[in-house]
C-alpha cells in the first residue's frame, strides 16, 4: 500500500506513522527531514520549497511502487510539504512498514535517496 502527498500544510508525524502500522508489520522505519540552521556553512533562517506538483506526485508514486517491488515491505508513505518553512519545520516524512526491520531500514533509506535525486522539488534559500 502506498500513501503519497504534497501539501502546503504542516505534516502530521503521528498520523503518518500510524498509517504504516499493521498487524503484519513488526518494524516501522520513519525518516523525518527537518530544516537545519546550517547548509554548507551558511546560516539558514527559512527555506521555500517549490514543486512541479503533477510531476512530483508521479515521481513519488514511482518510487513508492519500486520500493514495494524491490523490498519485503507492506506499506510506504511519502509526504512532502511546500511553501516557506522555518528552521525545525518538517519538509518530508517517509514511513515504511515491514514484517522485519532490515527491509524497513533499507527501503526507507532508498526512498529518501531516490526522492532527492528525481522528484521535482526545489528549495530556495535567501527568501
Amino acid at each position: 500500500m502506498t500513501n503519497i502527498q504534497i501539501t502546503d500544510q504542516p505534516l502530521n508525524m503521528l498520523s503518518c506513522i500510524e498509517w504504516a502500522m499493521d498487524p503484519k508489520c513488526g518494524g516501522i522505519d520513519a525518516f523525518i527531514g527537518t530544516v537545519r540552521e546550517n547548509t554548507k556553512g551558511k546560516k539558514v533562517l527559512r527555506l521555500e520549497f517549490e514543486t512541479y506538483e503533477s510531476m512530483a506526485l508521479d515521481e513519488m508514486k514511482k518510487i513508492a511502487e519500486e520500493v514495494l517491488q524491490k523490498f519485503e515491505v507492506y506499506k510506504i508513505l511519502i509526504h512532502h510539504r511546500t511553501g516557506v518553512l522555518q528552521v525545525g519545520d518538517i519538509p518530508v516524512i517517509i514511513v515504511v512498514g515491514a514484517a522485519h526491520r532490515d527491509a524497513a531500514f533499507v527501503a526507507c533509506h532508498y526512498a529518501i535517496d531516490e526522492l532527492k535525486k528525481s522528484v521535482p522539488i526545489w528549495k530556495k534559500e535567501n527568501i
Binding site: 520549497f49 517549490e50 514543486t51 518530508v92 535525486k117 521535482p120 526545489w122 528549495k123
Partner: protein, 80 residues
C-alpha cells in the same frame, strides 16, 4: 510550432517567469530543444545539468515533442 515551456527553481529566474512561449521546428527532439534553450538562455549553461520533462516524466534526448505536450525545464532538484 509554438511551445509553452514551464520553468521551475532557478530556471524560472533565468526565463524571467514561470513559463515561456517559443517557436521551434516541428518534430523537434528533446535534445534539439535543450540546445535551442541553451542558445536562447545562455545562463542555463551555468547549471550542473537541466533536464526536459514531457507530460510529467523525464524525457530521453531522442524523444520527439508535439505541440500538445506539457514541456518543462527541470534544473537540479533539491527536495527532501
Amino acid at each position: 510550432m509554438k511551445l509553452t515551456i514551464l520553468a521551475f527553481g532557478i530556471a524560472k529566474e533565468i526565463f524571467g517567469g514561470s513559463s515561456v512561449r517559443l517557436e521551434v521546428n516541428d518534430a523537434c527532439s528533446v535534445h534539439e530543444l535543450q540546445k535551442f534553450l541553451q542558445e536562447k538562455f545562455p545562463r542555463l549553461n551555468e547549471l550542473s545539468s537541466f533536464l526536459i520533462a514531457v507530460n510529467n516524466h523525464y524525457a530521453l534526448p531522442g524523444e520527439l515533442i508535439s505541440e500538445k505536450d506539457e514541456i518543462a525545464v527541470i534544473p537540479p532538484v533539491s527536495g527532501g
